[in-house]
């Protein structure tokens, strides 16, 4: 038998290694005041010695997704790094200018070295990489041909489940119909009827922070923090049985034919935006200016990077085709 088990690592690990750091010129104090969601989402650094932590974080998550270490070992490795750097909840990182970092109460989410915070970081990163790996694998031609759709189902219990049918509807998902019990999304493994083709824009909308403040700006599970939701691949027969169609009523073959990038294993870009709801408006504005994002008049706390992305793509294209 070939040494196939490495492939599972390759997908999740590839996804892990592809992610970048959140570019920002905000200082530590500004970052500290951003919402917990924004802080926890990205692998980013405030200043100076934080870079060591960020570098170690990336390495640890790579090892975790590769299956080499467990969540507990990942937390311990990060905690030891923080200690080695000299991080304290009261003073932050030693390289941070004195007085710029609000004191964090030890053991709270603001304390980077607390179990709760490290647990949040490790689990969120692991879930993201698992979801990204599943998406990559789902686009392999043989899997795409046999299982053209995903169904959103609960994969793990949570204390309080979000209203996923409402989110599904707001994201533009098709009504699951009466054959699926209304609260099936609360039961682990139960079919929910929230089904859409691979590559359908509904997945990006479901994970967009422009639509949901706690979203992670990804088009794959877990979509938002500690959601407990995941994907179940659905076969052609299942799709036909439940009359699953594309956004404009396309059949499976019509949808896939209209999406050559998807057929080629290329994935659509996730929505380039981030929500700063709940953040001090002055800091949100500084964040927007620092990152050169734009805001929609109807959503002043959602920073959009579409223009920047379009310019960057145009510049890249021009470089290749002058």
């Amino acid at each position: 038998m070939p040494a196939q088990p490495l492939a599972v690592i390759t997908d999740a690990l590839a996804a892990a290694q592809d992610r970048g750091m959140l570019p920002t010129t905000l200082d530590s104090a500004g970052l500290k005041e951003l919402g917990a969601e924004v802080l926890a989402k990205s692998v980013f650094t405030a200043r100076g010695a934080d870079a060591v932590f960020v570098s170690q974080l990336k390495e640890v998550i790579d090892q975790l997704t590769a299956g080499d270490i467990g969540e507990g070992q990942a937390r311990t490795a990060l905690w030891e790094t923080l200690k080695a750097i000299g991080y304290t909840p009261e003073g932050g990182f030693p390289s941070t200018p004195l007085g710029q970092v609000p004191e964090a109460m030890a053991g709270t989410l603001q304390d980077l070295s607390s179990r709760r915070r490290l647990d949040l970081i490790v689990r969120t990163q692991k879930d993201l990489m698992t979801g990204a790996g599943q998406q990559i694998r789902g686009m392999i031609p043989a899997f795409l041909a046999m299982f053209p759709a995903w169904e959103l189902v609960r994969m793990g219990p949570v204390r309080v489940a979000r209203d996923w049918p409402l989110r599904w509807a707001e994201a533009g998902g098709k009504d699951p119909g009466d054959e699926f019990p209304a609260f099936s999304y609360q039961t682990v493994g139960a079919p929910t009827g929230m089904i859409a083709f691979k590559g359908d824009p509904v997945w990006g909308e479901l994970g967009s922070s422009g639509n949901f403040d706690d979203a992670l700006d990804v088009d794959y599970p877990p979509f938002c923090y500690n959601s407990g939701m995941g994907w179940r691949p659905r076969s052609r027969a299942y799709c036909q049985l439940h009359d699953v169609t594309g956004p404009d009523g396309e059949s499976i073959d019509e949808w896939q034919a209209s999406q050559p990038n998807i057929l080629g294993g290329k994935l659509p870009l996730p929505a380039p935006q981030v929500s700063l709801a709940g953040v001090d408006p002055a800091i949100a504005e500084r964040f927007r200016l620092a990152t050169q994002g734009t805001t929609d008049p109807g959503k002043p706390m959602v920073v959009n990077y579409s223009d920047i992305l379009a310019k960057a793509l145009a510049a890249a294209k021009a470089a290749y085709h002058p």
């Binding site: 088990p5 599972v8 299956g67 467990g70 179990r115 031609p141 043989a142 027969a237």
Partner: protein, 197 residues
């Protein structure tokens, strides 16, 4: 004297067409294997999510960590021309379904910490403030860590732990064969074929 029987077979060309379609559908085995791998992986995930084995947590009166349920997400289907696979990362601990597992302390460590009460279940010593515990030896033989404030035993300390093979951590071979069989039949039945009408 033998009698000569004249037998006319009709519709053979249609049967041949059907057979050819079937053979064409099986020429590239990857879609078939993708189908089997996906169904088998989903079945295995459901199995893990339904295990509901929280004996340690229940014994200690603690909230389960749902370790196995969460790990179910890490399973991945895979396939090639030769076979269908379920890929199981090492850190899920599911290798114990196939062999004994000897757990040793990490480098530089002397003991493993085994939670002994609800307060410590799912946590490590580092998750508590410094000086929460003190070292004790029970009955002159068994080292442990007790809470300084009330003397409750927090952790047993062990130099190694041997976990015996437990095949029930994963579905049985027969369960996997069954899902493979069903998946293969469904695949063949769903192959597009010319109408006999």
């Amino acid at each position: 004297m033998p009698e000569v029987l004249a037998i006319n077979v009709t519709g053979a060309e249609l049967v041949d067409r059907d057979l050819n379609t079937l053979l064409a559908g099986l020429r590239d085995r990857r879609p078939l294997h993708a189908s089997i791998a996906t169904e088998a992986t989903e079945m295995t995930r459901e199995y893990l999510q339904g295990l509901n084995r929280h004996a340690s947590a229940e014994r200690l009166g603690a909230t389960p960590t749902n370790f196995r349920e969460r790990n179910a997400l890490s399973l991945q289907p895979s396939c090639d021309d030769a076979a269908a696979y379920i890929l199981i990362p090492r850190n899920t601990g599911l290798g114990r379904a196939f062999h004994d597992v000897l757990i040793l302390p990490g480098s530089g460590k002397t003991y493993l910490t085994i939670p002994a009460c609800a307060r410590t279940y799912g946590k490590v010593v580092r998750d508590f403030p410094a000086d929460t515990f003190r070292f004790v030896i029970y009955q002159g033989r068994y080292p442990g860590l007790v809470f300084r404030d009330d003397g409750e035993l927090g952790y047993w300390l062990r130099r190694q732990v041997l976990q015996r093979q437990d095949r029930t951590l994963l579905p049985s071979n027969e369960d996997w064969r069954e899902v493979g069989r069903h998946s293969a039949i469904a695949y063949v039945n769903n192959l597009p074929r010319p109408s006999l009408a």
